[in-house]
């Protein structure tokens, strides 16, 4: 296919109109995934709609019960943002470990989620923080939990006329952490990440979310570990009983793959580092 036209709308409404008018169109955010596709002559649309001039999509806003991140917010923006620092330690750690300065300066949160690579770094963070994705088209608006978006992807997947406009993350006094093993370009065998969030009272776990990335078709939560942990002391999470659940989960998820023997062990270290990063963040949530 050949690119016929390029549009640069100034606001979300204009972008929605363009998207519904031109069937064979694609949205361009930072382009760090898309331009690599174009280079291979893959996914070249007839119409490209560039979101980079839409200021409405570039802000991080605090509301009474949540913090809303615009889909065009870059990793650099997230990394230096006070609201994110004060509330979501896991997202800060993720943003710091993502790409290089040049990549972070243009790569967007929305692009990372929609591109949906197995190892898309922000996704486990958003899932473990119970984040919600907001999709808008010219005549629809829907909110989908990020976890459901990936779990039920055949149903929930973004439609051709939709834009991911923002990500809503509930504010709550929980701790959160993140750890990633391996760089994007390292061998697939050496890649895995974990994001988690937890609520602790007097060293007792009240609630826990653990999301693993790059150990399955999409990032997913470890429900068994989450429910078993409630009521236990934090140190229990470092015990074999907890770590074995992770190991088995990874085994079940990728038992057919060559990377399984490495990853089922590696995940335990990745998880422990993510947990430490959460606990060490202390009052910094």
């Amino acid at each position: 296919m050949k690119l016929l036209s390029f549009f640069q709308p100034n606001n979300i409404d204009e972008a929605k109109v363009l998207l519904s008018k031109y069937e064979n169109s694609k949205l361009l955010a930072g382009g760090t995934d898309l331009l690599l596709d174009f280079k291979k002559d893959m996914n070249v649309p007839q119409y490209l709609i560039d979101l980079s001039k839409i200021l409405e999509l570039k802000s991080i806003v605090e509301n009474e019960s949540d913090i809303t991140i615009g889909s065009m917010v870059t990793f650099t923006q997230v990394k230096g943002n006070k609201l994110i620092k004060d509330n979501f330690n896991s997202i800060i750690l993720c943003a710091k470990s993502m790409g290089s300065p040049q990549i972070r300066n243009v790569a967007t949160i929305g692009g990372n989620i929609i591109n949906g690579a197995v190892a898309a770094d922000i996704v486990p963070c958003v899932i473990s923080l119970d984040g919600i994705l907001v999709f808008e088209s010219i005549d629809t608006l829907r909110e989908v939990r990020c976890e459901d978006y990936f779990r039920n992807n055949s149903i929930e997947k973004i439609k051709g006329n939709e834009i991911l406009t923002k990500i809503i993350i509930p504010k709550r006094p929980w701790l959160s952490g993140y750890y990633k093993l391996g760089k994007r370009n390292s061998l697939a065998i050496a890649r895995a990440n974990t994001a988690l969030s937890l609520s602790i009272e007097e060293n007792i776990i009240k609630d826990l979310r653990v999301c693993l990335g790059a150990v399955g078709k999409f990032p997913f939560r470890v429900n068994e570990l989450e429910s078993r942990a409630v009521g236990k002391i934090v140190e229990w999470l470092f015990d074999d009983e907890a770590l074995n659940i992770l190991e088995n989960t990874v085994y079940e998820s990728i038992k057919e793959r060559k990377t399984m023997p490495f990853k089922r062990n590696a995940i335990k270290g990745v998880f422990k580092n993510a947990l430490l990063s959460a606990v060490e963040s202390g009052g910094n949530k």
Partner: protein, 160 residues
Amino acid sequence: MIEVTLKINGKMYTRKINPMLRLIDFIRDEIKLKGTKEGCGEGECGACTVIMNGKTVNSCLVLAASANGAEITTIEGLSNGDHLHPIQEAFIEVGAVQCGYCIPGMILSTKALLDENLDATEAQIKEGISGNLCRCTGYTKIVEGVKIAQKKIINSQEGD
């Protein structure tokens, strides 16, 4: 074809281009500024780094059409007539340049870093140039060069 206008090193350039043209091709082929280098063409090496609206980007991963209206600084925009930029002087003095292919990008990453944080620590310097690969120098001299540049810039500001 679409029309774009970019401000490069302080000068406005308007051209009709194919919307698939990358920023690096606009700079090298349309404007004929050859200091910006292409290495990997995939966002990995940083040879193509330019400063766009104050932030470094890999110009191989940006469409020129998308950069419409932006202000770009390339390596040619750093010197002032015959006077090299302090970062350029520092790199030469310390011998941070071997084949030189990575250097335009390396210097622009350094500039963006020091514009934001002139007192960057060694760790921050290393992080700041982490998106620029050099296959010759082993980076030690480059980091030294950045430190000398910091001193030069601080001294020149005190002299003002």
